[in-house]
Amino acid sequence: MEWANQLCENRQFGSKMTDSKYFTTTKKGEIFELKAELNSDKKEKKKEAVKKVIASMTVGKDVSALFPDVVNCMQTDNLELKKLVYLYLMNYAKSQPDMAIMAVNTFVKDCEDANPLIRALAVRTMGCIRVDKITEYLCEPLRKCLKDEDPYVRKTAAVCVAKLHDINAQLVEDQGFLDTLKDLISDSNPMVVANAVAALSEIAESHPNSNLLDLNPQSINKLLTALNECTEWGQIFILDCLANYTPRDDRESQSICERVTPRLSHANSAVVLSAVKVLMKFMEMLPKDLDYYSTLLKKLAPPLVTLLSAEPELQYVALRNINLIVQKRPEILKHEMKVFFVKYNDPIYVKLEKLDIMIRLASQANIAQVLAELKEYATEVDVDFVRKAVRAIGRCAIKVEQSAERCVSTLLDLIQTKVNYVVQEAIVVIKDIFRKYPNKYESVIATLCENLDSLDEPEARAAMIWIVGEYAERIDNADELLESFLEGFHDESTQVQLQLLTAIVKLFLKKPTETQELVQQVLSLATQDSDNPDLRDRGYIYWRLLSTDPVAAKEVVLAEKPLISEETDLIEPTLLEELICHIGTLASVYHKPPSAFVEGSRGVMHKRLPARTGSGESTESPDVGTAAGGSAPEAAPSIIPSQGDLLGDLLNLDMAPPTTSGPPPPTTGMQMGGMDLLGGGLDSLLGGDIGGSPAMGAGFGAAPAVMPASLNAPVGGGLGDLFDLGGVGMPMGAYIPPKIVWLPAMKAKGLEISGTFARRAGVIQMELILTNKAMSVMTDFAIQFNRNSFGLAPAGPLQVLTPLGPNQTIEVSLPLSTVGPVMKMDPLNNLQVAVKNNIDVFYFSCQYPISMLFVEDGKMERQVFLATWKDIPNDNESQFQIKDCHLNSDAASSKLQGSNIFTIAKRTVEGQDMLYMSIKLSNGIWVLAELRVQAGNSNYTISLKCRAPEVSQCVFQCYEAVLKN
């Protein structure tokens, strides 16, 4: 050390004010001077000139004009000068590709140099010159360097392959460099192995499907061996690569874990985090009753805590990752609350992250300590931090019931401080506490009302208004309070306006006598004076509800609200799984998948946690199971844009934390019918298209409200008579369209659904093929249909009894009934389907052939046929052409009969066969048809007559499909 320091000092002394002067030249005509100096005969002068050039380049001046002069300096045995010229070349070669060729010879020569340092330097620099012409010359030297006897050259060449691939991927493949690179994984030198792994991983990222890394137990073994020997950086490359491997079984996974755990004691935090990533991922595969599993869990905590004594920037990265780990496996750090206590001198970004984790770890056992801390934080200086601390107190109250009372009193203390933002934040969280524990803490309302005037943030105002509306019956002057807000109605933010509207309606329903004027005032403000469609829509709904049926309005508006969930801000489980696979990386810092911030193809591949292998699954101990959270489907909070949320939206619970919404509740036909009526009613009320009316309908449907019959009248129009009458029939060879892909795997996190519809023995069936193209097992399948034109609904649950493993396919047929809720779709035969599994809920829509709705008793009496034909107005008749059909009339007739299209009569006029046919749809609609077949003409003409002419188009499509198959 001493000698080095001395050396440095000497050098500094000697070069004082020599090199830094290059940064200060601002003269004009500088370029010319430099040019002259570069061409000087004196070596020293040349070097000085190149230094000046580099300094100018650094500060952003354009010195590309000097290109030829600088390149001339390249041929030198002074390594320092050479490196400087190379640096220049890397920067400007692209702008002067022709000139860059001049340098090629020197590069090629240097690649043959006796000194390995020079060989490596040449190949390293050459790879950085992104000029096509140069890359051609690069291939031969690179090939030699990849097999160089010196490991330093080989490790540099390995990275160079990645560089070349970045410039010209095809060239790298054609030249066989990828295979050479793969061979380097077995190199004797650990650093060569590490760089080869890094290069291959990067190349593999842009070819997601090529099995470039070809990880198998043998190559994994090589990597694990190299892991013990290479530099800290090499260990990171190898660990990050290992994390992409999926072991074949739990044994292999355990043995890898055993060999990775020593890395947890490495001084380099990145090595530790990458090791944690590998362990978190492979742990998924270990049976939970295994002793090793709990040992591993215990081993993970200390290194994670140690990361918090690193430098603040690394602490931040570590905390963001710990946030993920705590969500995935809360048991690891549950006893480590204290280390997340905020220190006075922590940078703000560390403070905020620690606070987040504290809340996640808060439990009954440690809540007293946590609260004491939070109270302390609420008096700090940084506004964001204080707000978050106040909010955290509220969250503790919601999470740990025993602490609620203490939290509320703490919040009241804070309100007493009268610090504006503290008060506002406190009111927002108190609102949440009211939601969670109704009828418990309302005594504090009086205190809250005192602070009404100081609230200037929309969220706090809205929260206060919600409280006043919700507890209007207990607040004597609720009407005055709300009226005071109404004065500046149009200056308020939308959030506050919506809230105020709802609150006043609530008030009116509770105290109708005194507040009629107020409610009218707010309704007219919302509907007539506002441009905001959300506000107007909500206003109209309330208006209509109140004017038609106040009882119903009461049931809707004052309906019991779903409880809010304990955990908030949870990351959606599939995203969480993906982020766990990215521990240590930017994705884990941003809490976003790489595709959200990386351009191009890189990193777009979604990573997945491996599935636990069979053994030990059933004996899973319940406590671990629930604690583990994420992996157990039942514990995973679903993130369906479910009806609950929509209801929440409508009732203005939208500012509350998200509700715990389980799988969509099994809605009965009755309820669904009800909501359809409302949806339709609104449509007609507002004269057509209001945005999102189905959503609103759905929202009401989830409420246990039964819609008043009076709303029934304006609904439905022509579809009113579409309700099903049922049908029985005989089996026939009905037309079944081929299966098509309805839901591609890309859109459904790996679940692919294809299918078709069929009518077999009078039963409509949806025949599905489910394919799991993801890496993890899928379970808990369920299916649901949206309301549709013919009331199709699943007649039973989706029978997928065994979990669907990766790459497994299962065929299911789902019997359908036609007694479901009805809504006219466009096109008529459109069906919107939701399929749920343990991962998510997916939506797709498909079109069914209307022929499957043709019932078996659809043969009409001749007389009736005639009468009906005449009876249906001619306006309802539509004509279609079926082209290129080569069946004769009899063959056509029998073919159609298979699909329940019955020929009633046949007439031949002037060589033209006229077939008269009848069809009855499952909902009782009759369709009458006249099919004209002319011998020698492959074009058929068909006329369809029906009381509901909308169906004609679909029926025609069926004809075409049946006849042509």
């Binding site: 320091n5 050098r11 500094q12 390293r124 990275v159 004691s265 490495h266 930017l586 911030f597 990386v598």
Partner: protein, 440 residues
Amino acid sequence: MIGGLFIYNHKGEVLISRVYRDDIGRNAVDAFRVNVIHARQQVRSPVTNIARTSFFHVKRSNIWLAAVTKQNVNAAMVFEFLYKMCDVMTAYFGKISEENIKNNFVLIYELLDEILDFGYPQNSETGALKTFITQTGIKSQSKEEQSQITSQVTGQIGWRREGIKYRRNELFLDVLESVNLLMSPQGQVLSAHVSGRVVMKSYLSGMPECKFGMNDKIVIDKQGKGGASEEAAAGKSGGGGGKQSIAIDDCTFHQCVRLSKFDAERSISFIPPDGECELMRYRTTKDIILPFRVIPLVREVGRTKLEVKVVIKSNFKPSLLAQKIEVRIPTPLNTSGVQVICMKGKAKYKASENAIVWKIKRMAGMKESQISAEIELLPTNDKKKWARPPISMNFEVPFAPSGLKVRYLKVFEPKLNYSDHDVIKWVRYIGRSGIYETRC
């Protein structure tokens, strides 16, 4: 991987800019300056995303180092690299300052070329780098020397070169601990931990194989009574009292330590780098000796006066001396005047720091001292109450507050003719205050 690396001065002028990837353009240099260095607000995160480009930064005095990327890089690695980069620069030219960077910019470019290839960190051990990046040219290297350099840079023992010779084989071990405390006004320990480092300076010939032993509870318990006598001898010298073994929560090691061996046998064996290295870091939370206890008493007398009394008690052997003791008592922003009386040392009100700073040069164990102060306040109409930041303390004590003891450090060099007994060894314990705070 890292797409580029920039170094700025405090004004945001670029001192060094090295671009490794094509997707990072010159505009990235400006984006960071405008959005981070010149940002009005305090830095809210060490990672910033600007227009889909991510910037990682660290600051050393008034110099900004920023690594830039457009990919999903290993964030922990980038920061570790930036720290490493600082270490390397410090080892080459001392303090990281604008002046030094400008004076050594050619050297820095050369280093950056070597330790970061296409954005992938390469061997960055200064010991190895100094063998071939010298700024004096390497014209006169023999072939053997060259291959020795490359094998060291890429080798399994990249941190040490062959053929080191010393006339006197000597090694120094420093056990440096920082003890952290957060205490409630009532004297309840809210959190306390020791983070320690074992720093080794070795001047040993050849490739010595070393083995380090300490009073780690797990090892001692394993050895059972066999190691007890040795332990008893070692245990007496310290200041903390007769603790036999300590429970280490977690430890991390320099890359020279064979981790798999530690994992399997909990033995610490390694070939050390020449000169100084941080052999190990550790953390303990159990049975910590808290060298000082701070007892605060703050009384608000009306709206314009505060009375503060603080007692400190030293809690270690009377024969040991603590040094550089400093107690920092925060005062409200609207303080107009302060009167202080202290029994020992000197105390001063520092208006610019909003604190009373009380300094005591030396203090023996099991002693007590006291300060009392009257603080006059200006009346304000600020509704917000004073936040009462904690009272913090600094000190240095000649023992390890965790109770850690070095039991042995054995050196084996089979090829050279010196044995473990010939090596002169020095061990020193220093306990310093980390964040040592008592709320009031």
